[in-house]
């Protein structure tokens, strides 16, 4: 297992180098640079040109990239042109809020999705199944912007129960997490349903029933545990996406996550910050995926056996 983890971490390095180069290249392709985007009309053309020269913007892409990656290996991820702060500091400042939102979001998604998916599967093609499917579709097709605002109107404005913005105080996580969670629940519910449908037809479920095991235990212990791998995979993917930032939810609830930071950075053509954000998000997601793989091993002993080889 440890060897497996070390292998994964080492594999991360080339991935991050590739990601950083691709992002560097793409940001470079987009017209405009941070000097124009940030300073716009404030500076004369000559002043901007001097700045570009000083900041090395006129060097070729490869030279700039080599310089950047060289600094990264020295532990320096560069300064944001927009915020005049180290990219690493800006990113790390946002990470706790993003993690909080992502994990609560997926938690809520799973709490909704697993029971609904299981119930759909055991009542396949009945009214209950159809109703769950409709609820799932509703959750998936409901724009999170709209759903978020309606919740704010109900819970903050009408009832006064929850704060309408920010990441402070009691209950501030509830509505953002619900918005993220409801959106993710639909896919997870469908995954749970199809995975469960496959598992409850397996012979070992019949074996369990033949032993006299209670139906609830059959479903939630014997079947669900076996159905978990696809669910965990889907949840991990959703979580990975959420770690990159949930821009709409962050905007609606003024949630200080990495998504808005990345978008703001890109709009300002703040290459250093954009590349920094994406490298760090990739690293974060990779670590997450590694955890997911480790969770697999705990859920399914066959996978665990494979890792130790």
């Amino acid at each position: 297992m440890y060897r497996y983890i070390i292998k994964r971490v080492l594999l991360l390095i080339p991935i991050l180098i590739a990601v950083s180069f691709i992002v560097f290249f793409i940001v470079d392709l987009a017209p405009g640079d941070s000097i124009d985007a940030v300073f716009g009309n404030e500076l004369s053309t000559e002043d901007k040109e001097t700045m570009r020269e000083e900041m090395g913007y006129n060097d070729s892409l490869l030279v700039r990239y080599a310089r950047y990656i060289g600094n990264v290996f020295k532990g320096d991820m560069g300064m944001s042109v927009l915020f005049k702060k180290p990219a690493l500091e800006l990113y790390l400042n946002r990470v706790p809020a993003t993690l909080k939102l992502a994990f609560w979001g997926i938690f809520i998604a799973l709490i909704i999705a697993i029971p609904l998916g299981v119930i759909s599967a055991i009542h396949q093609n009945t009214f209950i199944d159809t109703l769950s499917t409709i609820l799932g579709l509703l959750g998936m097709s409901m724009p999170s912007f709209w759903f978020g605002l309606l919740m704010i109107i109900l819970f903050s404005l009408k009832l006064g129960w929850l704060p309408s913005f920010g990441n402070e105080g009691r209950g501030s996580i509830i509505m953002p997490a619900l918005t993220v969670g409801v959106g993710q629940a639909a896919l997870l519910m469908r995954t749970t349903r199809s995975s469960m449908l496959e598992v409850i037809r397996q012979d070992y479920i019949r074996t369990a029933r033949a032993k006299g095991v209670k139906e609830g235990v059959v479903i939630y212990k014997h079947a669900l545990r076996n159905a978990l791998i696809p669910i965990i995979t889907a949840a991990g993917t959703q979580l990975g996406i959420a770690l990159g930032g949930t821009v709409v939810v962050e905007s609606v609830f003024a949630w200080p996550g990495v998504g808005k930071l990345t978008i703001d950075a890109f709009n300002a053509r703040d290459t250093t910050l954009v590349v920094g954000c994406l490298i760090l998000t990739t690293a974060l997601s990779s670590v997450l995926m590694m955890f997911i793989d480790i969770i697999y091993a705990f859920v399914d002993p066959r996978i665990k056996a494979r890792y130790s080889r």
Binding site: D203, Y204, T207, V213, P301, A305
Partner: protein
């Protein structure tokens, strides 16, 4: 007349599967009685309704497609089809337990084999986890698996060991009735014998009644007191080992024997039963075997003969036995 207590009594059981291609008539009115210690072998081709009958006894017909249309199944005095959920759970594993066909898929891959045996013990014996595990380890030893393997997962075991685990689960709570569905198909011949011996000694110890489902007539001969020959959801012939093997009456049973390799005359050709198995979605008016039967007469195609008692122990469903002096050609001894 003292009525002997029956472990199992099946009356006129009819089981259908509602599929997209129509209604599959899996079991079409079978009757079966089983006393304590008694063992009956159910033989027949794949699709004859043997496993469906077994699952019906446990009230485990796959839902929602499987429907028990008719009949009663009494195990140890309780009607398995009408008792409450919780009574049914108590009967499963304790009243009647089953050894499933395919050991590769019958075990849950994410739990240790010890846990899977212990679960049954815990449910039915009301003992602590620790005691249940102890019992599971004993069971493993009984079926010949080292106790150290109790904490192994199914994927760490060979096919033969898995089958032993499946057997250990079925035997764990000393059920009154044991259903063994092809318990040895997945095993090689030497292990087959061991497994059968295991079951036999266990039954002797606990006076367990048994239904053995197989298409291997040899195993039936070794293990069972009585034999039910099933074809297309119907028991076409029923009798003691003697009755079936030496006084074969039904043309289908004859066909089964003819299709066995002849050990004495090794050069003789195998004689397969001509024709195809009946389309299970069509239930004919006449005899289910009529289309493949070499003794067929017109009556066979219009009416399906009820049971004819050839002797006290021997029943056959074939209208030709209405004719005095009729017999099939197979004559042994």
């Amino acid at each position: 007349m003292v009525k002997e207590k029956l472990v199992l009594e099946i009356n006129d059981l009819v089981v259908n599967y509602e599929t997209d291609n129509g209604t599959v008539h899996a079991v079409n009115g079978i009757n079966l009685k089983l006393k304590q210690k008694q063992s009956v072998g159910i033989v027949g081709e794949t699709g004859a309704g043997k496993t469906t009958t077994a699952l019906a006894i446990l009230n485990l017909i796959p839902q929602p497609t499987g429907i028990i249309k008719n009949g009663t199944i009494i195990v140890d005095g309780k009607n398995m089809l009408t008792i409450s959920e919780s009574d049914l759970r108590m009967m499963r594993g304790k009243g009647v337990s089953m050894i499933f066909q395919d050991p590769m898929t019958a075990l849950n891959p994410v739990f240790t084999i010890g846990e899977q045996i212990a679960e049954s013990v815990r449910i039915h014996e009301g003992v602590s986890n620790k005691d249940a595990m102890q019992r599971a380890i004993e069971m493993l030893e009984i079926v010949g698996i080292d106790k150290d393997r109790a904490y192994d997962y199914p994927h760490q075991l060979s096919g033969g060991m898995k089958q032993r685990v499946v057997i250990a689960i079925a035997l764990a709570c000393q059920a009154k009735l044991l259903i063994a569905d092809e318990p040895t198909t997945a095993l090689d011949v030497t292990i087959q014998a061991q497994v059968l011996e295991l079951i036999r000694s266990y039954r002797e110890k606990y006076d367990t009644a048994m239904i053995l489902i197989t298409h291997d007539l040899g195993i039936v001969a070794e293990t069972c007191d009585e034999v039910a020959v099933m074809y297309a959801g119907v028991i076409v012939e029923y009798g003691t080992l003697e009755d079936i093997f030496n006084r074969t009456k039904h043309p289908y049973t004859e066909g089964l024997f003819n299709s066995l390799p002849n050990i004495i005359e090794r050069r003789s050709k195998l004689t397969p039963i001509p024709g195809m198995v009946l389309d299970p979605t069509i239930l004919p008016d006449g005899c289910v075997f009529a289309d493949r039967c070499s003794y067929v007469i017109d009556t066979c195609r219009t009416t399906f003969q009820k049971d004819i008692a050839v002797s006290d122990t021997h029943i056959v469903r074939c209208s030709r036995y209405q004719e005095p002096g009729f017999n099939i050609k197979r004559m042994i001894a």
